[in-house]
Symmetry: C2
Subunit: 336 residues, 2 copies
Amino acid sequence: MKKINSAPTMKDVAREAGVALGTVSKVVNGIPVGESYRKQVEAAIKKLNYQVNSYAQGLKAKKTYTVALLIPNTENPFFAVLAYHINLALLKRKYRMLLCCTDFDLNLEQEYVRMARQNKVDGIIGLTYNPNLVIEKDTPFVAIDRCIDVHIPCVASDNFAGGQLAAEKLADLGCRNVAFLRIGSSLTNEPNKRKAGFENGCLARNLNYTMKILEDNDSYEEFDRFLSSNIQNGKLLFDGIFCVTDRLAYYILKVLQRLNVKVPEDTQIIGFDGVKLFDNMDYVCSTIVQPVPEIAEMCVELLLQEHTTIKPPLVCLPVHYAYGGTTLEFDKNSEN
Amino acid sequence: MKKINSAPTMKDVAREAGVALGTVSKVVNGIPVGESYRKQVEAAIKKLNYQVNSYAQGLKAKKTYTVALLIPNTENPFFAVLAYHINLALLKRKYRMLLCCTDFDLNLEQEYVRMARQNKVDGIIGLTYNPNLVIEKDTPFVAIDRCIDVHIPCVASDNFAGGQLAAEKLADLGCRNVAFLRIGSSLTNEPNKRKAGFENGCLARNLNYTMKILEDNDSYEEFDRFLSSNIQNGKLLFDGIFCVTDRLAYYILKVLQRLNVKVPEDTQIIGFDGVKLFDNMDYVCSTIVQPVPEIAEMCVELLLQEHTTIKPPLVCLPVHYAYGGTTLEFDKNSEN
DNA sequence: TTGTATGCGTTATCAT
DNA sequence: ATGATAACGCATACAA
């Protein structure tokens, strides 16, 4: 396509206004300047429709007002909503956002981190999976859901409490025999604590529990088999299931429907994330809701704090339970 | 956070390699240079972990390898998936993507367009709603779903054909009395053609049809009333409903469930977009699927074509029907 | 072929 | 308070 050629520069403005270059710069940057000069310059700016070139600015200032967000994709609604809120939080602070979808590609993750060095961006917010990700000490980085290094702040939901809450809710809702279903990376990360929290909650409430943990490259259908094998006389042995994500919960819901297990009458399901199909609509399933807007704000805040006071290595934000049709409505209205 | 200070520059590399600045530049840009020099420079680059500063590069070249994507948000899965595929298409061409969520804010849309001028980005792909959006002729811009100007290429699905297809499918599936439901901006855009296409299809297939068109600021609940008022003896007068989007279709599905109308037995629903809750999972409803990856590719292709041959003012890409549980399974497997 | 010098648009440090 | 000038890191036209 045609190149953008003739953007007016400060020099043009200076000539138009009949003042020196430096004066224009001052006006643009809000540095006090003689009233009459000010007006002239402003008039010239308006007339030429001048706008600073942020690339020249970035070159000079080593500051680009751009932040890179590394996430696997925006097809998963959790990531998509996260991206949206981070974008919002950045916009509030006049920052732009470079969206870098990594598709779970470990090399691509590293590539993007490298790209961010050399003041191409002012910082990175990353939800990554590369266990060997190299982040030089002078690259401002905030991690989501994974503690990469003590010097890199990590922001996450309180996953342990979330798991615990799920167990408690199932207990409150009358379950006695529950299962925990999980699939995902074996990487050590915060969401892994959901399991421990759930176990803890089950023990506290005297719930019988069973775990079915799959690895990343396993097939979801393994769950089909697992559930089928736990059906006796047409009834599922579990009256409650906690799924590590809403995505999985949604999948399990379909499986149970096929197996003629009634949800929530026979078996209740709680997921994790708080995914909605469309904004302002219902949750996909009863779920432990992650505080996405707060996570976004926290990430941006931590990333942009200039005052290099001590950075918290791990920030856990509170989650809450929300009804979404896959549990009994006992406490439908208790959004927490 | 700490500033990135000491990034090595070409000068550092030149010194390290014992060559001149220009030589380094040439190596970096793949311009032939003496073999021994090449190796020395490459060694120095590796040693210092040097990387070009794209801001200095952009300043010089008036090319930033960055494209801005303007969409309302990434909370709506259609937008989210679109963003993902555009990101992919750009990545293939070594371009970065600035994600600009406009939240349907007309001023913000204009603001972003302005920002893009002055070679801050090499071009813009925009799904916008501002009817008065000013795009200077020298700003590379590709529009999605709306013809802004003859000089600005517009990429969209074949919405007319999609509407027609919806009518045909409903007819094939045995419907005789159908309704078209729509809510959205009254702006003239491509998706509006869904209505005309549907009408056309109904006429061709002798379907009785009713239209219920709401405006942007109307309440969805208006549809509740509309449907309620069309129930006689506990039966809905429509045996088929075509909704302008999957989002609406999903909403209507919930309404009908509340009204005890069985879907798809009593009434079948077809939406538009092809939204899936999670990737690789089922469609939210039976739907007319937009070819999102192709739309993304086309946008990027049109935007980046250097050879300013003639640009097509409007490109319509083919849609197809997909079963998603809200129609009878008559042709479940016909993904067209 | 390789090196040198200039300019891209800004900002900041100087004299004035 | 204002204007001239250097420097940011890179690319390139030009000289060697």
